[in-house]
Amino acid sequence: MTRLSDPGEHGGSVVANGNAAALTGALRPARLRARTRRRLTGLTMVAPMLVIVLAFLGWPLIWTLVLSLTNMTVTGPTATHYQFIGLANYRELFASGSGLVQSILLSLYYLGASAYIGQALFGFVLAYLMLRCTTTVRKVVGSIIIVCWLVPEIIAAWMWFAMLSNGGTLQQGLHAVGIPYQTWLVSHPMISVSVANSWRGVAFSFLLFSAALSDVPAELIDAAQVDGANAWQRLRSVIIPLLATTILVDFVLITLGTLNDFTLIFAMTGGGPGTSSNVLSVFMYQQAFVTFRLAYGTASAVVLLAIGAVFSFIYIRTLRRQGALNFAR
C-alpha cells in the first residue's frame, strides 16, 4: 500500500494485529491514547452514515425478507395477526399461472429493447459520432441529452403518455408518414415504454462511453489505419477491446437501473392493458397494493432483489479487479 493512510500508523499496526493486550504496557500512555483516539475518530466519522443506511435501508430490507414468509395482507384479519407460512408465497410465485414468468420475460424485453439497444448501443453510436465534433457541439448535445435524463421520471412518463395516447402528437405524426392510426400505448405498450425509457436514459451510457472513447490514444487508431484497417475493423479490433471494462460497468449499471425501473411504466400503462406490460417491479406493486396481498408482494420483491444481487456482485467484482477498491485487502 503506497497510499498515505494514517501517518505513524504503520509502526503501530503490527502491534494492533498481534497480541495487543500483552503489549499495551510497553507503549507510553500518551501514544496509546492518540492511537485509540484515531481509531475512534474513524468509527465516529462513519457512524452517522451507517445509522442512516441501516435504519432506513437495512432494517426495511430485513423486514422484506421476513414478511415474504408470512401471510400478511393490507386489510382484513391477517393485516395485524399474520402468521409465518414458510415458503408458501414462493411456491405460489413459481407455480404456473402466477404471472411471474410472464413478468420476468417482459422485464427481459424491456432490458433488451430500452437498456441494451435504446441506451447502450444508441449511446455508444452517439458518443462515437461526436468524438470528432468540436467541444461546443459536444457540450450542447451532451447537455440536452442529460436534461432528458434528469427530467423527473414521472414528468417524462406524462409527456410520453401525452404524445402516444389517443390524439397524441406522435400518433398523428406517425399516421402522417403512413403508419396505421392506432393508440400506441394500447396496441404496443412495451414498445411505447421502451421508447420512452430510451429517450430518457441514453445520457448515462453516452457519458460513460464519451469519457472512455476520449481516453483511447489517437496514435493507436492512426496506427491501425496505417496498417490498412477500415473503420469497422478499427472499431472492432482496437476501440471495443480497450473499452471492455467500461462496457461491462455500463451494462451492469443500466441493467440494474432498468430492472428497478417502476415509475415510468407504472405511470404510462399501469402494467396494462391487461398484464401486457406487467414487468417485475409493477408486478410486485400490483400484488402488494392492488390485490392487497402485502406478503406475496414482498416475496416477488425478494425475487427481484436476488436478480439484482447477481448484477451488483458482478459490478463490485469488476471494480475490485480494476483496482478501484485497492485498499480493501
Partner: protein
C-alpha cells in the same frame, strides 16, 4: 467527396438527436404558453399563436384563472425544494465524513462497513417500500419533511459516499503529508487541507444528490398522504387526467419541474459529468 458525405451524415444525425430529445419538452413548453382553448383545438399548433404567461401566473395564485388547486401546486414547489435541498445537505455532510474515514483512516471493521454501504448502491430500493411505510408510520415520520429527507438520504448515501471516496483517494497524498509534517492534527488535515481541495468533487456530489431528490416519485407518494409534504412530482401526477386544473396550467407546472434540472445542467455541466463518471467507473 466521400468524406464530405460523412460529415453531412454526422451533422444530420446530430440534428436528429437534438430534435428527438427536445421535442417532448418543447411540446410541453408550447402548451404551457397557450390558452386552454388553443391547446385543445385540432389540428395541434406547433407554435403558440400568441404566447401567454397567465398559466405560470395562475400557478402562484395570480390572475382570474387561478384555480383552487393552484395553491397546492405552489405549496408542492416549496416542498420539493425543502425535501431535495434538505436531503442534499444531510447526505453531503454525512457522506463526506464517512468517505474521508474510509479513504484515509484505519479502524476496526472498516471493510465490512464499507461493503455494507457500497452494497446498497445497487439495491432496488423500492423493494424496501412496503416495510418502510409500516416502520415510518410506527415512528410517526409519515407526512413530515424529516421522514422524507431521512429516506432520501439513506437512498442517496451509497452513491454520494462512493463519489466522495473516489475524490479523496485521487487527492495527491503529498499535500496532506506536508500538512502532517507541519504538525496538523487529523481534524485540521481533513478540514483545512482535504476539504478545500476537494471542492469540485463536493459540488458534483451536491448537484447530483439534489437532482436525485428532485426526481423522486414513489417514495414521497407513499410517505406523504397530504399536500403538506407532497412534492411537485406527486402533486402533478395526481392532477393528470383529473381535469380539476386546466391542462395548460399542469403543463406550466411540468415545465417548472423540468426547468430546474435544465438550468443546473447548462450552468454546471462539467461538474455533473465528472461526478457521474466518478460515481460509476472510477
Amino acid at each position: 467527396m466521400r468524406k464530405r458525405i460523412g460529415v453531412w451524415a454526422r451533422r444530420a444525425a446530430i440534428a436528429l438527436v437534438i430534435l428527438w430529445s427536445l421535442f417532448p419538452v418543447y411540446w410541453a413548453l408550447d402548451t404551457s404558453l397557450m390558452t386552454n382553448a388553443e391547446a385543445q383545438s385540432a389540428p395541434a399548433h406547433f407554435l403558440a399563436t400568441q404566447p401567454i404567461f397567465s398559466n405560470y401566473q395562475a400557478l402562484f395564485g395570480v390572475g382570474p384563472e387561478a384555480p383552487e388547486a393552484a395553491g397546492g401546486i405552489a405549496r408542492s414547489i416549496v416542498n420539493i425544494v425543502v425535501e431535495s435541498g434538505g436531503a442534499m445537505l444531510l447526505t453531503l455532510v454525512v457522506a463526506i465524513l464517512g468517505a474521508y474515514a474510509f479513504a484515509r483512516l484505519r479502524f476496526r471493521l472498516k471493510n465490512l462497513f464499507f461493503y455494507i454501504v457500497l452494497g446498497t448502491l445497487t439495491l432496488p430500493v423500492y423493494a424496501t417500500l412496503i416495510p418502510l411505510y409500516r416502520i415510518m408510520t410506527q415512528v410517526g415520520l409519515v407526512n413530515t419533511y424529516l421522514g422524507i429527507i431521512l429516506v432520501y438520504a439513506s437512498g442517496f448515501m451509497p452513491l454520494a459516499m462512493w463519489i466522495m471516496y473516489n475524490v479523496f483517494l485521487a487527492l495527491p497524498p503529498a499535500i496532506e503529508e506536508a500538512a502532517v509534517i507541519d504538525g496538523a492534527s487529523m481534524l485540521q488535515r481533513f478540514w483545512k487541507v482535504a476539504l478545500p481541495i476537494s471542492t469540485p468533487g463536493i459540488a458534483a456530489t451536491a448537484i447530483i444528490t439534489f437532482l436525485l431528490g428532485w426526481g423522486q416519485f414513489i417514495f414521497p407518494l407513499v410517505l406523504s398522504s397530504t399536500g403538506s409534504t407532497q412534492p411537485l412530482t406527486v402533486v402533478l401526477a395526481a392532477l393528470e387526467g383529473r381535469h380539476v386544473v386546466p391542462y395548460t396550467i399542469v403543463n406550466a407546472a411540468a415545465i417548472i419541474a423540468i426547468a430546474i434540472p435544465a438550468v443546473l445542467v447548462f450552468l454546471l455541466n462539467r461538474w455533473i459529468v465528472e461526478g457521474i463518471i466518478a460515481g460509476s467507473v472510477k
